[in-house]
């Protein structure tokens, strides 16, 4: 298929960016979206132009490194996939595709389509774990976890930290991301001990870093490549209120 690409180009964090239009011909339907960008970059290098910078690594939908806002949707037009799992069969011959970086103040652009997501790491550093030292663990089967809790915890733990939820949200809220980690741990007996301080610390860090508030549009859930449920946000709210009251 032949495509027209409108891609956001920005030299560095300080420079002003703009859209640049590129033409691509003979792209296979079986190509992944990032492989299509590889082909574009190969073409640009041959023309002595600078290739488009974008984040990517595992290319199998699990590392969370790839991003991209494609035709107005984080990770593009398919559901429950990351950009690296998006295939060109989801587009038509002759399509124009608009590619932008994640747009959210806490995720500043570094170059072209690359953004800085260290804000997510900072939130996790403020309590997104169980404080256990190596060697201090008890025999594993001494901690029993009901199958239901383990499954719900795993549903939340499937978050890959890509930031699509923030990019999708009109308020750039990180509620889905934070709630996934809070739920993952609060649902397990091991995680209950620190649950109260964890939720308060993580929420205040999220606010401090400039993420917006949740106004319940659930765009985050709709665009999450790992189908993290908004019910985690409800759980986060409950955990937060309980922690404040107690």
């Amino acid at each position: 298929m032949d495509l027209t690409l409108n891609i956001w180009r920005q030299k560095d964090a300080k420079s002003k960016g703009r859209f640049v239009t590129y033409q691509l011909k003979n792209i296979s339907q079986n190509c992944s979206f990032l492989e299509m960008l590889d082909i574009l970059n190969e073409q640009l290098i041959m023309q002595n132009q600078e290739p488009v910078a974008f984040d990517h690594d595992c290319r199998e939908g699990i590392c969370g490194m790839c991003s991209l806002y494609i035709n107005g949707r984080p990770h593009g037009p398919d559901d429950a996939v990351t950009t690296c799992q998006l295939h060109m069969r989801k587009f038509k011959d002759g399509d124009t595709i608009v590619v932008e970086p994640w747009r959210a103040r806490p995720f500043p652009v570094i170059k072209d389509l690359l953004v800085d997501r260290t804000a997510f790491d900072k939130i996790i550093q403020d309590g997104g774990y169980i404080s256990v030292n190596t060697g201090a663990a008890a025999e594993a089967n001494n901690i029993l976890v009901s199958k239901t809790s383990a499954e719900l915890s795993m549903d939340a733990a499937a978050c890959i930290g890509c930031g699509a939820c923030v990019a999708a949200c009109k308020n750039a809220s990180a509620m889905l991301f934070v709630s996934a980690k809070v739920s993952n741990l609060a649902l397990l007996p091991q995680g209950k001990i620190e649950a109260k301080s964890r939720v308060q610390k993580m929420v205040s860090k999220m606010d401090e870093l400039g993420f917006g508030n949740c106004t319940n549009t659930y765009a985050c859930e709709a665009e999450c490549p790992k189908l993290i449920s908004r019910s985690n946000i409800a759980r986060l709210n409950r955990e937060f209120f309980c922690a404040k009251i107690a």
Binding site: S32, E42, I45, M46, D57, Q125, A140, N141
Partner: protein, 645 residues
């Protein structure tokens, strides 16, 4: 020249590790504060080591090339992690896990290291559960296990098809906690580009800030590399795009030996190659072989029709299907180890029974399992894998059997280390996939996660103290020292040279060409003639690369092409060593199959008399390497032929 001293403790096998810990040197708490440790890589091994060392009180600096430590490729491991808990009461024990791992490695791994691995495996599960890793549970609330290739017991713990992700997030949590406490300094989007050696000891690294492009000097009393495997030397592999051999190669050039590079694992269940634009291969977890049955058509006509799209798999009757693994290996059936399963698939495809448009695929069929267990059970067990398959191939695997083919997956070889995980450079340690010691010639499923975490949580934090106890009087060094300055200058020269070539071909062109050579001549089947040819071709390609590669942009900015070029330059040297090692090892064992050495039934023909050693290579100069041998002695087990029939 460094001597090969494996430093294996004395005494009976089962007591060696305890004996070691009882007598090793320790560093007292006030001195720990005065010691800096550089850790490179944030995967299971690196993150767990950094967190554990920081908890103990050492100052840690940790580096990763990704934007966050949580992205390291350990995250992609699907199936599970082994431990000798014996929860299912099926007769498992530390000895059995040790034995299966040694046997699975085709008697080419170091006995004492593997025993220690099995010994600490149970601690790993305890640790991960305490961290909140949501492992699968029984209805009673206790931990669930499943079976995996190469074992007759169920000893694999798992978190759906995302075990690596969950374990890594556990280690990432522990690491994050130490970052918050100020014990670890995190350097994301940084890449190590050289090791700094002062008076014969590893004392730091040169790293490049990948955002600004600036070179930085970092001091450490010791340096720990946990930088993963070199599968991307084949270009197409299941590794992440950024996975590379560069740190192993930098330290190799500075005196750390490289062991068993020819032991590479080809994973049997991957999605087949579909086009020349393809950038990576996707693995389908080995756990699928628990319920899926592997087959090809019995008749060549049926295979041919399938290749042309004239017939569907379902239309081939039961009698016309060849379940070749069950036929050849009735005892293990579809659960034979990876190397055996991969070679058997290649054998069928080479003989003309392959299916799919390219003829390089076999079926992995769940029809029977769906009938037996119901679709919902299969969905619960493998739902995310089936979804992944459908997204890539655009075909529903609940209705049509999956098509799979082997792909490069794991590197058993790596930087040589002794029992303490120290390389031949004092003060430099290698952990996880980056070292060579535990998997021999073939790794069993669910053992990589075990090894990464064993090294990081439970081995290195002890053994490194044995070294650091002697370094407490060494003050932090200034990075203005000439050793740092020289190392930085060399890195700068190399990067400037790369950018200055301004040739006509892209970095990817060279990487793909290298991959083609490696897969053709150094892949699943190797022979003398092919390996010699590969070495010639790689040398020519390397020459061309240094004359004709085109890198856009400059040194002092974010420049992905430059990053790739630097890594490919190392692969172009490493590929030659891999081929040379394969050429030197005149036997077949595990993942290394030399066509000249096979039984009449096409199985590996090992030569224990002449090749029961670790091949540790020393770098002399460009394209010149010297072989050192570490003989492997098995004291507690009888070395046998590996039979899975």
């Amino acid at each position: 020249m460094a001597e090969l001293q494996a430093k294996i403790p004395n005494g009976p096998l089962a007591g060696k590790w305890t004996n070691y810990k009882d007598h090793q040197n320790l560093v007292n708490p006030t001195n720990k504060r005065k010691l800096d440790i550089v850790v490179v890589g944030t995967g299971l091994a690196g993150a767990s080591a950094a967190a554990s060392l920081a908890e103990m009180g050492f100052n840690v600096k940790i580096f990763c090339y990704q934007d966050s430590p949580r992205r390291a490729h350990s995250i992609a491991a699907q199936g599970g992690i082994n431990a000798a808990k014996n929860y299912p009461n099926d007769g498992d024990s530390i000895y059995r896990l040790f034995y299966d791992t040694i046997k699975g490695g085709d008697y080419r791994s170091r006995e004492a290291n593997v025993y220690r691995l099995a010994e600490v495996s149970n601690n790993i599960i305890d640790q991960c559960v305490a961290q909140g890793v949501p492992f699968a549970r029984e209805y009673s609330g206790s931990l669930e296990n499943r079976s995996f290739g190469g074992a007759l017991v169920s000893r694999t713990f798992f978190a759906r098809g995302q075990t690596g992700q969950q374990l890594l997030l556990g280690a990432y949590g522990a690491l994050s906690r130490q970052i918050k406490l100020g014990m670890v300094t995190m350097y994301n989007r940084h890449e190590m580009l050289d090791l700094v050696i002062v008076e014969g000891k590893a004392r730091g690294i040169i790293a490049r800030d990948l955002v600004t492009g600036k070179l930085e000097r970092h001091f450490g009393h010791a340096v720990v590399m946990a930088t993963g495997g070199y599968g991307n030397v084949f270009y197409l592999s299941t590794n992440a795009m950024g996975s590379n051999v560069s740190v192993c190669w930098q330290v190799f050039k500075k005196g750390a030996y490289f062991a068993n590079p020819c032991f590479t694992q080809i994973h049997p269940t991957c999605i087949p190659v579909h086009g020349d634009y393809q950038s990576k291969l996707t693995l389908m977890s080995e756990s699928l072989r628990n319920d899926g049955r592997i087959w090809v058509p019995k008749k060549k006509e049926d295979a041919e029709k399938h290749r042309k799209g004239q017939i569907k798999a379902k239309e081939i009757s039961e009698d016309d299907r060849d379940y070749y693994l069950e036929r050849r290996y009735p005892a293990y059936g579809n659960l034979v180890p990876r190397d055996v399963a991969s070679r058997a698939a290649k054998e069928r495809c080479d003989a003309g029974f392959g299916v799919g448009p390219t003829g390089l695929a076999v079926f992995l069929d769940f029809e029977g399992a769906i009938k037996r267990l119901g679709k919902h059970v299969i969905e619960e067990r493998y739902g995310n894998l089936f979804q992944m398959y459908e997204k890539i191939v655009d075909e529903n695997p609940y209705e049509n059997p999956m098509m799979i083919y082997p792909a490069v997956h794991y590197a058993m070889g790596g930087t040589w280390v002794d029992y303490e995980l120290m390389t031949t450079i004092p003060g430099l340690y290698a952990l996880g996939e980056a070292n060579f010691s535990d998997h021999g010639a073939n790794r069993l499923g669910a053992s990589a996660l075990m090894q990464g975490l064993a090294d990081g949580y439970f081995v290195l934090p002890y053994t490194i103290q044995n070294y650091l106890a002697g370094e407490i009087r060494v003050p932090r060094m200034s990075t203005d020292k000439p050793e740092f300055e020289d190392a930085e200058k060399n890195v700068r020269n190399r990067l400037e040279k790369l950018i200055g070539i301004k040739g006509s071909k892209s970095v990817d062109y060279f990487h793909k060409e290298l991959g083609k050579i490696m897969w053709e001549y150094v892949g699943m089947g190797r022979n003398e003639q092919g390996l010699k040819k590969a070495i010639e071709l790689i040398r020519a390609l390397r020459k061309d690369f240094w004359k004709d590669v085109r890198i856009t942009g400059s040194l002092e900015e974010l420049n992905p092409e430059l990053e790739k070029a630097n890594r490919v330059a190392d692969f172009l040297e490493m590929g030659e060593l891999l081929a040379l090692d394969a050429l030197t090892r005149n036997e077949s064992c595990g993942g290394h199959f030399r066509e000249e050495y096979q039984t009449s039934e096409g199985e590996c023909l090992r030569n224990d008399l002449d090749y029961m050693y670790v091949a540790a290579w020393e770098y002399l100069k460009d394209g010149e390497f010297e072989l050192h041998k570490e003989p492997l002695k098995y004291e507690e087990i009888e070395v046998k032929q590996r039979i899975y029939k």
